[in-house]
Symmetry: C2
Subunit: 317 residues, 2 copies
């Protein structure tokens, strides 16, 4: 089954403790598409300006990525510039130039409208709703968002959540949206709005799946020693998750658990190099190996439970 | 096999968003001993003043906890006062009164000296070395510490690490000690000093075991919705870990993994109520249940790996 993604496509200028890159391929859809295309066919809806480099189009083209949904508009492509300091957990935005992205309205090619797996990447909630109104009977709608929309467009963001099956946010966003310091309570608040599941991205601490049918699943943090550029970790995580589910056409609780691990595995590669470079040269055997490594990270052998545990006697009084 | 713990015993005054308690039973050894006594016999070496309440002694007494190593000195018992704010992750110390603890020197009763499982709770590294010099041929020495000693007594702290089998620190302490933002690199730096394993406590994000023989093991965060008082989480975690290992007399990699889960399980109870109250009424069947719950948190079914992953074709050039 193919996957549809709607979001940004742009040029990033980045500084991390490991170097600097200028106007490299960025945007939510490029990371998502490259990750999901490891698993299934991907349809991209986004907008670029006439200055969008042909070489970046070629990075996406030629894989299992359909680019007919990419609008080309007279003007400049969306540009983002950011910096990561010592702890690498949070990007400082230095500059954002919306350019042609400012007037973007997603228009789905006719054949995309019946696609059953849909990812609403982080864009204005009103645009996410425009996408939802264009798709026919999707099986799984997954949405992402960010602190800015929680602060400025909470009502329409809440409406997107109501119409989604899975809400994907980072831990700070869950706390902010639900107005509670407790992640699990925050996730349950979001579930109460309608979605079947909430996926909490915790950066270096892994991910959490909280679902109505299956309770809580914890995906371990990958013991990452090589982080050069965290940009795109969340979107390639989403690409791994939804790409896997679509490839199997299975949204059962067990498939969701495996999908989260696939997402973690793919994202753990993304951050090893700048921009989409690591995804470009990622092989399926590498993903398989890392998936197995994830299993070993959390495995412990069974033994007769309770051996060695003694009931304490009632304290003397 | 019994476990020996050396550390503080005192009276805590605490404020959290859920209430306030005054001069309740606290100190590293009380949390550790109550947790470890769920699994095995515990020997405590600590000091209290003549004002130490008899009712607190009775909380420890009558369980599998030997109190003959507790020195009673003329004067007041160690007191600590702290506050947890909204996010509950970090205690603000409001007041510390060392009192009789200021002149504490651990003196092990003769029969404790051959105890093979030893926990050096967080005290001055010089005192931890005094303990190490008093024990004969221990099988497992585990040490804890804190930011203050990393800052002010790094040389003697490093010496304690060299003489320990397992180093137990929280994530911030590992980063501070190893002077790197990367936890895994930090843990490997500590391994290079001599210990077999480093256990990184990550609070609400679970724990990490990095060992020479077994690589990395990730223990999931318990999806905790009820946190009333985080005090003692780390020491009861240590009690669960070492208590379990001693009860089985097994320090193999697989036993270490199970022990970490036991530690997480016990600590997840500790924080549900103030002081040691939840540990006081903890039953072995509750620990067993939560251990099983931890397994379910990270479990995902096998399937033929690689299904759905396709090797991307070489991009067109």
């Amino acid at each position: 089954m193919p996957v549809l993604v709607v979001g940004s496509l742009g040029l990033d200028t980045l500084t991390t403790p490991f170097g600097q890159v200028k106007e490299v391929l960025g945007g939510t859809t490029s990371y998502f598409a490259l990750a999901a295309s490891m698993y299934t066919d991907v349809q991209v809806v986004a907008v670029v300006g006439t200055d969008f480099p042909e070489e970046y189009r070629r990075v996406l083209d030629g894989r299992r990525i359909d680019l007919q949904g990419i609008q080309v508009r007279e003007g400049k492509t969306f540009r983002w510039s950011g910096e990561y300091r010592f702890d690498m957990n949070l990007a400082q935005t230095l500059d954002t130039q919306l350019n042609v992205f400012a007037d973007f309205h997603p228009r789905l090619p006719e054949e995309y409208r019946s696609t059953r797996y849909v990812f609403l990447a982080n864009i204005h909630p009103a645009l996410q709703l425009e996408v939802v109104s264009q798709v026919h009977r999707p099986k799984l709608v997954v949405m992402d968002s960010m602190n800015f929309w929680i602060e400025h467009s909470k009502a329409s963001l809440t409406e997107v959540m109501r119409r989604s099956d899975v809400v994907l946010l980072n831990d700070a966003e869950v706390r902010q949206f639900a107005e509670t310091p407790n992640l699990i309570s925050g996730a349950r608040h979001i579930l109460s709005l309608g979605p079947r599941a909430v996926v909490v991205k915790k950066g270096e601490h892994g991910a959490l799946l909280v679902s109505k049918e299956d309770g809580v699943f914890v995906a371990p943090a990958y013991p990452q020693e090589e982080v050069r550029d965290p940009t795109g970790a969340g979107d390639s995580f989403a690409g791994g998750v939804i790409g896997y589910l679509a490839s199997r056409d299975d949204v059962s609780p067990q498939a969701m658990r495996r999908a989260i691990i696939h997402g973690c595995a793919v994202a753990s590669f993304t951050v090893e190099d700048f921009s989409v470079r690591r995804l470009e040269r990622l092989s399926s055997s590498e993903v398989r190996e890392r998936y197995t490594l994830f299993r070993n990270l959390t495995q412990f052998t069974d033994e007769e439970l309770g051996v060695g545990i003694s009931q304490p006697p009632t304290p003397k009084s």
